[in-house]
Amino acid sequence: MTLFHKVLLGFVGLAAMLPLIGVPQYWLYTLTIGLYYAMLASSWSLLVGYVGRISFAQAAMSGLGAYVSVLTGMYLDLPVIPSLLLGVAAAGVLGLFIGWLTLRLHGAYLGLTTIAFGEILRITVTAEHQLTQGSRGLQVRPLIEGAGPATYYYIFLAAAVASVLLMLLLLRSRIGLFFQAIREDEDGTASLGVNVTLWKSLAFGCSTAFAGLAGGLYAHFVQLITPSMMSMQEMGYVLAMAVIGGFSNVVYAAFGGVLLQILLEALRELGEWRLAVFGIIAILMLRFAPNGVFGWLENLLKRKG
């Protein structure tokens, strides 16, 4: 284990201690939201950073997971866990389908197609207001009746850590190698006997399933969801988080999500300027440090240790 990994593990350990050392509830709430973004940003980097497929539908997929979970709970009287899983499945299957449909599309063309899918989802959720209450938002039952912020915090921490570990497991397997080979050169990968069609679609599905899980959990935590969680602006925050953390690595991206959410709350006095500054930082990162803050940090620690 390198020094950098130890530092990261230290952070996770510290995170697990926070409720015990009396961190104010307000900050636990913020961190819980940060963990939601951590899941979302890392799921996005799984697709963009490893398979080289761009998608702007990730926030919409999180919303899909949320709405499916909430609606199946409401209308089919399902308990929370099965409805959450249905949300994950819905997001995963739709992602798989989109991945398969867009096999031949690359770069900006793929970006535009995923924007279209994301926006259609958002518009549908907004339009079907007898079902979803449209943009007024939908009341959601809590994940656990009467649970306090610390409980939610631990659930999200566990979910985020488990998601990232699962992604790492996938990426360390031969499938992860196929993903990266596809990112580098599709024809070259196919020439070696790898079923590019299958893995490209599956990568999309995996990535959106994680987004669906994040969205479902989020819905039952904040207990009020609106279609705005599926907007392109929300997508922009996810992108900024992944880019600033480092989108070439799911761990960096996850930390980026938490880091940005913390900064967002800590710099509240700055008002909307915070977001503008994050935009500028994301731009500068893309231009000058494509590995993000944590990629840069890892390099720094590598040189020292």
């Binding site: 197609t113 926006e119 207001h129 900024a240 503008a276 935009g279 994301a282």
Partner: protein, 300 residues
């Protein structure tokens, strides 16, 4: 439905098409020369709206100069963005240029949106329109602010087409879009043309924002929907094709107004209005990615 109602819808469609075309032409111009899709185009449009608002409300200029002011400002913004963020793509300073181009313009969009939120606040502003009142064509009634905005829009489009056709700068833009290497051997300065077309593309978006701002209010988030419409238009017409962008805009304008009429439940119909074009976008990209006017790319 009565004949007048149909005529009214068609006229509405035409007016909307003008704005779509204006925004889409900018995207097409930029894609033609630089081969990148500018995902920050909606925010250029929004900045156009605010530039006009500033000129008219704070500086007290007449509305028509507000539009001119917006064009000048956005031209400058476009040139600045091209020089700092886009140029590195073509000088080999970026590792994965395709990925970079998409993400950097998307990040730019988010940055500009939040910048506008910080500077101007989220409240809608409404600068004075170029003209007010209504215009009657027999039984057909059209609000004057829309009609005048569309009229200026058409003038701008015609002006752009003339520039592309008859001026050296316009010819250089077309030449580089068609064949970069050939343009270079003819002695054309590619990087200057790139800068120019990015600036001009931004200026067109700015003009559209300045024209429509007074009609629908100016707010930081105003760019999102028109930008997506413009992407639909350029994909429909074939990315990078100038005539394609105009025809695509005409088609989308009519599809939207008439498809809305087809759904009986009016609330729903309005809510889904923005989705039709997106379905078209997906279908075109999947079935004929080169669009109606583009030529298929040949491998090998």
């Amino acid at each position: 439905m009565t004949l007048v109602a149909i005529a009214e819808q068609a006229a509405n469609g035409l007016i909307i098409s003008t704005f779509y075309a204006l925004i889409a032409l900018g995207i097409a111009l930029i894609f033609g020369v630089l081969k990148i899709v500018n995902f920050a185009h909606g925010e250029f449009y929004m900045l156009g709206g605010y530039s006009c608002y500033l000129a008219v409300t704070l500086l007290g200029l007449p509305p028509i100069f507000g539009v001119v002011f917006a064009v000048v400002i956005l031209m400058a913004v476009g040139v600045l963005v091209e020089q700092t963020l886009i140029k590195p793509i073509h000088t080999g300073k970026v590792d994965r240029p395709d990925e970079y181009a998409i993400m950097i313009t998307f990040a730019l969009a988010i940055m500009l949106l939040n910048l506008a939120n910080s500077v101007f606040g989220p409240w809608p502003q409404s600068p004075a329109p170029v003209s007010r009142g209504i215009v009657e064509f027999g039984e057909l009634i059209i609000p004057g602010d829309r009609l005048s905005a569309a009229g200026i829009g058409i003038l701008l489009i015609v002006g752009l087409l003339l520039i592309l056709r008859y001026t050296w700068a316009g010819k250089a833009v077309r030449a580089v879009s068609q064949d970069r290497a050939a343009a270079e051997t003819f002695g054309i300065n590619i990087s200057r043309v790139s800068m120019l077309s990015f600036g001009a593309g931004a200026a067109l978006a700015g003009a559209a924002g300045a024209l429509i701002g007074p009609v629908f209010n100016v707010v930081p988030a105003m760019g999102a929907v028109p930008a997506i419409k413009a992407y639909i238009v350029v994909v429909l017409g074939g990315l990078g094709s100038i005539p394609g962008a105009i025809v695509g805009a005409l088609i989308l304008g009519q599809v939207e107004v008439f498809a809305t009429i087809l759904i009986p439940d009016t609330n729903r119909a309005l809510a889904y209005k923005d989705a039709y074009g997106l379905v078209v976008l997906i279908l075109v990209l999947l079935v004929r990615p080169q669009g109606l006017f583009g030529k298929p790319e040949r491998r090998a």
